[in-house]
């Protein structure tokens, strides 16, 4: 008694005994492997299959009820086995061996040695679709572990499970002739592990489709970075993709076998997957699921009891068995570790490339945004050409090249033509040459300093008791641009305001205020620098007790920016007061030069400034030892108005202390927040300022040493050409 099945073979319906069918399938498989490397293999196999079908048909017409083993044997004898095709056994062997493992193909538990392992959904031990048990059998890891992992990452793995369910054939599905399509990793057109290319092959879509799907979470990451305002667009997709796409990718990489042999590659391309295929697979499995779930529950109960009894017996046995099991699991683990390591390396490399692209891109955007500033710095002619060359070839060309490369890789065009890459490279070399020349040219333009000379600014009323420094507003309205590049604070059509102004406070030798001004500039020769310095227009104006200073130096595009600076020295007589009200110049601090009276210009390193904490909008008084805050002096000074303030302050002192503590806490919190976001100093500075201002308002003149850090003083002389990114205010 034998079971007879109907098969559709080359367009003919054939009743065939099951054993005969197995033989036939094995035979066709062996032919497929034998001709795997042959050009036109599909045609050959089709022709042979067609002929076999014809022969079967003939014998059925002669009155046979079905195809038996004998018929199959006769046909095989007349067609010939692969071993008979070529008398040279070695060739046959070599051809067949490359594709070994065909016989034990559907017995996944047998780990065939050396041959290509293939992934099947395990029909015998399945719970839902048999995916987990199949993976377990494939990797040699207990399916329970795989199941637990899948459940743990539920949500992320859900998608992976569905795809594997659909794409991986079950152990029971065997279709003769045109084989069912199987999911492989396609190593031929891979970027990482060939997962995407394999999926593309399986679902017959363009290769960039799965790649894009896997990349979307990364895009969303970029979009969300710092809330750039693209909003919730990626959020919808991230439900199933992000950051799960990495997890899914890793799962696929680990689980899906690579299409190594030609037979694998044939299967990978196999027949079309249509919706019916998918539907029938999942429907069939789901029907059995309910029953299995029930029996599983019962089994679990029983098993728990049995396990309890057997645990001691098992302990003894485990010793012997574990050696073998450990070996198998170990093998699986080595594979897993290898893949993870690979992913890690790729991740690092990817991050580096990503960082380079982002840095270049940001640089490009900034330098392009700065275009209007160019005419204020660069001389017409060569320098401008070089600047354009740098911008286009040095910055944008590599950005475009890398982006093009990424797009080409995603689109699956692996062999980028050498002409394109050579062109890009040549452009970039041009860019480097431009860049270097530009630096050299600019270096020579800035090479010389002028000889600084002090000029006395005439004060209308130098004998007053108190001098307040305020900024002289620009005499034009201007926009607060989206983009602010210091020291170029404001652009208009023909001039730019450079905030290269510093204030220096010294002790006056006389009993009246004195204001000196030093104008400085760079140039390509000393004479040039001197001339540029003398062209600086900077107004110092006293009105009553207020000293008005320009906020910046106006430079026209004819003048060119050559690091023009103005240093305003205010000499305060002993016993008189000074207060700086507005922010003048680039930095919010004032240089204090006490006692020594030297004109030491390199004040960036002056220790006086470090020791003295300068505050804007606070009154200071000059003493014989140096500047001091007014409050401290009040005990000596019998000034009525100040005394009132003092009394009021004393009354409120307790409240104020509490206020200080509260704000200190706030500041600490903000600092912590800042460290978390890892942002640049920009935010930090803002919070510090905010804190400072509010604190000053409330505390007025209470002198307390606080843990606030003053803004680091950057060297203006050096920094103008290499502004750190933190100063760009978007």
């Amino acid at each position: 008694m034998k079971k007879v099945i109907n098969i559709n073979f080359q367009g003919r319906i054939l009743p065939i005994e099951e054993s005969a069918y197995d033989m036939l399938k094995q035979y066709v498989d062996s032919l497929r492997r034998f001709f795997a490397n042959e050009e036109g293999r599909d045609e050959i196999i089709n022709d042979i299959e067609g002929r076999i079908a014809e022969l079967f048909d003939e014998s059925l017409k002669k009155g046979k009820t079905c195809i038996t083993d004998d018929e199959v044997n006769t046909v095989i004898a007349s067609m010939g086995r692969p071993e008979d095709f070529d008398a040279d056994e070695n060739i046959v062997k070599a051809q067949l061996e490359g594709e070994a493992g065909g016989g034990s193909r559907d017995r996944i538990y047998e780990r065939n040695t050396g041959g290509a392992k293939t992934l099947y959904r395990d029909e015998n031990n399945k719970f839902l679709g048999g995916v987990c048990s199949g993976i377990g059998a494939y990797t040699g890891i207990d399916p329970v572990i795989i199941r637990v992992l899948f459940v743990l990452f539920f949500g992320v793995t859900f998608l992976a499970y569905l795809i594997l369910w659909v794409a991986v054939p079950s152990t029971s599905s065997v279709v003769i002739g045109s084989q069912r399509k199987r999911l492989f990793r396609d190593a031929d057109s891979k970027i990482l592990g060939g997962v995407c290319s394999g999926l593309a092959q399986y679902f017959s879509v363009q290769i960039w489709v799965p790649r894009l799907l896997f990349l979307i979470p990364f895009f969303s990451l970029v979009f969300r970075w710092g809330n750039w305002g693209v909003g919730d667009f990626p959020h919808l997709l991230s439900f199933s993709f992000s950051p799960g796409s990495i997890v899914i990718y890793i799962i696929f990489w680990l689980v899906i076998p690579e299409a190594k042999s030609t037979a694998d590659k044939l299967e990978m391309k196999g027949e079309k997957v249509d919706l019916n295929n998918i539907k029938s697979t999942i429907q069939g499995d789901l029907e059995g699921f309910k029953d299995r779930a029930q029996t599983f529950g019962n089994e679990l109960k029983e098993r728990a009891q049995v396990v309890g009894q057997n645990i001691s017996d098992a302990g003894k046995r485990v010793g012997g068995e574990s050696a073998g099991a450990a070996k198998r699991t170990g093998n699986g683990l080595v594979n897993v570790l290898g893949v993870l390591l690979k992913i890690f390396v790729y991740f690092i490399v990817g991050s580096i490339i990503f960082a380079i692209v982002v840095a270049l891109f940001t640089g490009g955007v900034i330098l392009t945004g700065l275009l209007p500033a160019y005419s204020f710095v660069l001389e017409d002619g060569l320098q401008k050409i070089l600047a354009w060359g740098t911008l286009i070839f040095f910055i944008w060309v590599p950005v475009i090249a890398i982006v093009t490369w990424i797009i080409r890789r995603i689109a699956g065009k692996k062999s980028s033509s050498s002409i394109i890459s050579l062109t890009f490279f040549a452009f970039w070399i041009v860019g480097i040459i431009c860049f270097v020349n530009l630096l050299v040219a600019l270096g020579s333009s800035f090479r010389y300093r002028n000889t600084p000379t002090e000029q006395v600014a005439n004060l209308s009323n130098p004998g007053i008791n108190k001098l307040e420094v305020k900024s002289n507003n620009f005499n034009r309205y201007y926009y607060n641009d989206w983009f602010n590049f210091e020291p170029f604070s404001t652009f208009d059509d023909d001039s730019v305001y450079v905030k290269n102004v510093r204030i220096r406070i010294t002790k006056s030798t006389t009993d009246s205020f004195q204001v000196n001004m030093v104008r400085m500039s760079n140039g390509n020769s000393r004479a040039d620098a001197n001339q540029r310095a003398s062209l600086i227009k900077y107004a110092v104006l006293q009105r009553d007790s207020t000293l008005y200073l320009d906020k910046g130096i106006a430079i026209t595009s004819q003048d060119k920016f050559r690091n023009q600076q103005v240093i305003v020295t205010i000499a305060v007589p002993v016993g008189k007061r000074i207060k700086v009200g507005d922010k003048i110049g680039l930095f919010d601090n004032v240089h204090i030069d006490m006692g020594r009276g030297n004109n030491y210009w390199d004040w960036e390193n002056s220790l006086d400034n470090e020791a003295f904490e300068w505050r804007r909008n606070v009154e200071y008084v000059m003493t014989t030892t140096g500047l001091e805050r007014v409050l401290k002096q009040l005990n000596v000074d019998e000034d009525n108005s100040d005394r009132d303030i003092l009394e009021e302050l004393k009354r409120n002192k307790e409240d104020l202390k509490q206020e200080i503590e509260r704000q200190q806490r706030e500041l600490d919190e903000k600092k912590r927040e800042l460290e978390k976001t890892g942002d640049t100093t920009y935010k930090f500075r803002q919070t510090t300022y905010r804190y400072k201002e509010t604190a000053e308002k409330t505390v007025a003149a209470v002198k307390t040493k606080r843990a606030t850090k003053s803004v680091p003083q950057n060297s203006l002389f050096i920094n103008t050409m290499s502004m750190p990114l933190s100063r760009f205010v978007f």
């Binding site: 367009g11 067609g50 048909d57 010939g80 008979d84 008398a87 040279d88």
Partner: protein, 120 residues
Amino acid sequence: MNIDNTQSQMRKGVLEFCILSIIRQGEVYPSDIVEKMKAANLNILEGTLYPLLTRLKNAEFLTYRWVESNSGPPRKYFSMTGKGLAFYEELEATWNELANAVNTLTAPIQAADTLTNVNQ
């Protein structure tokens, strides 16, 4: 040295020539080729024939057309192209030379003896 191996190598060499000469006589169905060769006492497996036909077809020596059959799907019938004919004629010339040479060498026993002596 395997006698089977040598024999099959010899047969293999003339296989293409024989198949081409059958197809030259007119359009044929592959199994007819097998029958004809069997009748001439030259056995060939169909499993060997199909790849050979495909190769020759890919080299544009042969062409085929689908012919409707009264039972089942249409069948492939092969015929020769002009290029194939030229190829066949060259093979034929070579074969004649070879056959002559082999006959000349093998016919007189003396020649064979001399050869064996030389070999020794």
